[in-house]
Amino acid sequence: MAIWCAHLAIDRWRLAQSDRDAADAQAFALIAETAHGPRIAALNDAGLEAGTHEGQLLADARALAPHLQVAPSDPAGDLAFLEALALWAQRWGPWSAIDAPDGVIVDATGVAHLFGGEAALLADAQALLARRGLAVRVALAPTAGAAWALAHHGASAAIATAGPGLHDRLAGLPVAALRLDPAVQLLLGRLGLKRIGDLMGIDRPALARRFRNRRSPAANPLLRLDQLLGQVPEPMLPVIGVAAPLVQRRLVEPIRHRELLDRVVADLAQDMARLLEAEGKGARRLELGLWKVDGELLVRHLEMAEATRDPAHVVRLFAHRLDGLDAGFGIELVRLRAAWTEPLGLAQVDLDDAAERHGTSLAACIDRLSVRLGLDAVRRPVPHGSHLPERAQRWRPPLEARAGEQPGLALHARPLKLLDRPEPIAVLYEAPDGLPRRFRWRERVYEILRAEGPERIAPEWWRERSTTRLRDYYRIEDAQGARYWIYRAGLPGDGRGGAPAWFLHGLFA
């Protein structure tokens, strides 16, 4: 079912007036600011009778109708109203979508019998919307496109049913009913195609060839035609009303001390746990707002690694966040809001002191660590497709789901630990590109007894500058048995700098 609020902006303005009859009698326009001065965005009936039209410059309109009253238009308010209307329209179907700027699409599949038939359903919708003071046109059709077309360009309260009759029913509508861009409508008009029936009469391949590089449905009449007849699906974004769970405490006496605040937070966490449990949800992000007497607002955020509603855990995490809070003259209102929730079923509670013995869960442990040390401190390495050792792993959040990964081929030994930044070493070698013999690192000389290499790793030319040098890695072991991973950056005479430098990059176990 498509609902078209033909005069949404004007209706909203009219509903806001105290004396509606007087408002109807007065010529009135809503104006929008444009690059060429104010233009008329919407008009009421008296304004239309005065000879002005929508899209006209206000100066021109004033010349025609000097008594024209104006007010600025409010597109954002219209959209918000439409969102609320879309939610309200779910009384006629399980889900609805906004059809900006002034329509609503309701999926009424299989619900007509609840209202006593399709005609009764449309009559009900018309009556209820008219009682709300909205001038609407409604239509019912098998596809959203067809319903839209009938609501905008068909008879009042039109009902189209699926079947061979649908073609004939839609053929008489103008091409504007296809929801095309003005440029495409103009083009079709110049081609002499005025009605949908004219388009249907044309060979499909010819239309496909003419609009072959138009991907967007609003620019491709063939695509719109298929959507109209239900031969191509048309995804829509349903409107879903989500209320964030919210609990608050208004305090008789403003509090200035931490112990009292902790108690209030504990109470709020209890309330929130009850609220979330009733909804079968757990919080991932919590916002604690503290309103101060002197008109300031303090907000503390908390993000959890896993959905939870355990009040003790929440209180413990907030305890870190509330350190160093400036209460000023006191806090008079505390509000806890779960900005992000996830489904969380009921779980068996730990009996007696089992929790004490069993310790915390992994998610709780990670929450505590992240709150104190920061989100970036607790991470897990995951392999990444790169030959460069420092790029071959990335650090991800610890509880993130792991992508399916193929175990890498362990062709080359890799060290247990990599230094954050390779440390320069001084190396003695027999030949400039031969095996190293001895090196100095951190004020000590190491005699190399055994070595394996080189393992050559070329720079990633698609990412780095052309002067980046290749690396020749050596696994080495010194006389004491210490094992290292060293590399020579570049080759002598590779034209990318002077003599190659040596670095120590990793430590083997």
Partner: protein, 277 residues
């Protein structure tokens, strides 16, 4: 005073008793007086390894010991999936700077995907993270790396870690990088150095499987000794060239040098999870 051999289980031990010289307590009669060897279920939850910052031998042996403990642990009879619990590796900033961060490709394959790494800024934060990790039931073990002798890691902090590890049964291997042997409550304290690796079969010039020279200088359960340890991927192997199997009687006259070591906590009323006495 009970004879050591008469002690049948840990619970039978009196709360505070002076054991015979050379006899340590903590495990049942099976391991009394026996030297430590790989694959032994030690029951030791808190181990310290002293290592140099210029080697990864401390972390390498800690991982090898942790794998050894995992392998020798009795599997849960009702578990139908393999143990895939994570493990925590906590490093403070100095340890990261001196000896680097873990490298995914260089970790043992069965442990690499289970690692959770904590990069702490200060030793205090690192100790907090280690303790939180020890309290977590979903972790297999915790490895800590702390450089030097920070003021935060005093005897009290060390004792907290021991208590947390014993109460929740999560073992801790604390690697002390470039540190003095200060006062600590770890049940076993090792000095680790790297040893020449095995000779690979196909390229004798190349380094082979890593080996470590491990010196158990303080232990509550085992006599001190030295081993050369290496992990061949299947199990931890030890060959101890200098330490022959010494019978208990030969050391009986020598009083045990407890020194900076603390008695097992489970016989103290303060201790968590202590037996009733």
């Amino acid at each position: 005073m009970p004879e050591p051999s008469a002690v049948s289980s840990v619970e039978d031990l009196p709360a505070l008793v002076d054991l015979a010289p050379g006899v340590t307590r903590g495990l049942g009669s099976v391991t009394h007086g026996a030297r430590w060897r790989p694959g032994l279920t030690t029951g030791c939850r808190h181990t310290e390894l002293f290592a140099s910052a210029t080697q990864a031998s401390g972390a390498g042996l800690a991982l090898a010991l942790a794998r050894d403990a995992l392998r020798s642990a009795r599997p849960d009879p009702v578990a139908d999936t393999p143990d895939e619990r994570g493990w925590l590796w906590v490093q403070d900033k100095a340890a990261q700077r001196l000896s680097g961060r873990p490298c995914y490709a260089g970790l043992p394959r069965e442990l690499a995907h289970r690692l959770i790494h904590v990069a702490a800024q200060t030793p205090e934060d690192a100790l907090f993270a280690i303790e939180e990790g020890l309290r977590c039931r979903d972790l297999a073990f915790v490895i800590g790396e702390i450089a030097g002798n920070p003021r935060a890691l005093d005897f009290t902090a060390s004792r907290r870690l021991s208590l947390a590890a014993e109460r929740h049964g999560v073992p801790l291997w604390l690697v002390r990088i470039d540190a003095r042997r200060d006062l600590g409550s770890a049940r076993m304290r090792w000095e680790v150095d790297s040893a020449p690796s095995t000779v690979p079969r196909w390229n004798p010039q190349a380094p082979g499987q890593p080996a470590w020279r491990a010196d158990l200088f303080r232990s509550h359960t085992f006599p001190p000794g030295q081993w050369t340890l290496r992990d061949d991927g299947q199990r931890l192997l030890a060959d101890s060239p200098d330490a022959l199997e010494q019978p208990l009687s030969t050391r009986a006259g020598r009083p045990p040098h407890l020194g900076d070591l603390v008695r097992a906590s489970r016989h103290r009323p303060l201790a968590a999870g202590a037996v009733g006495s």
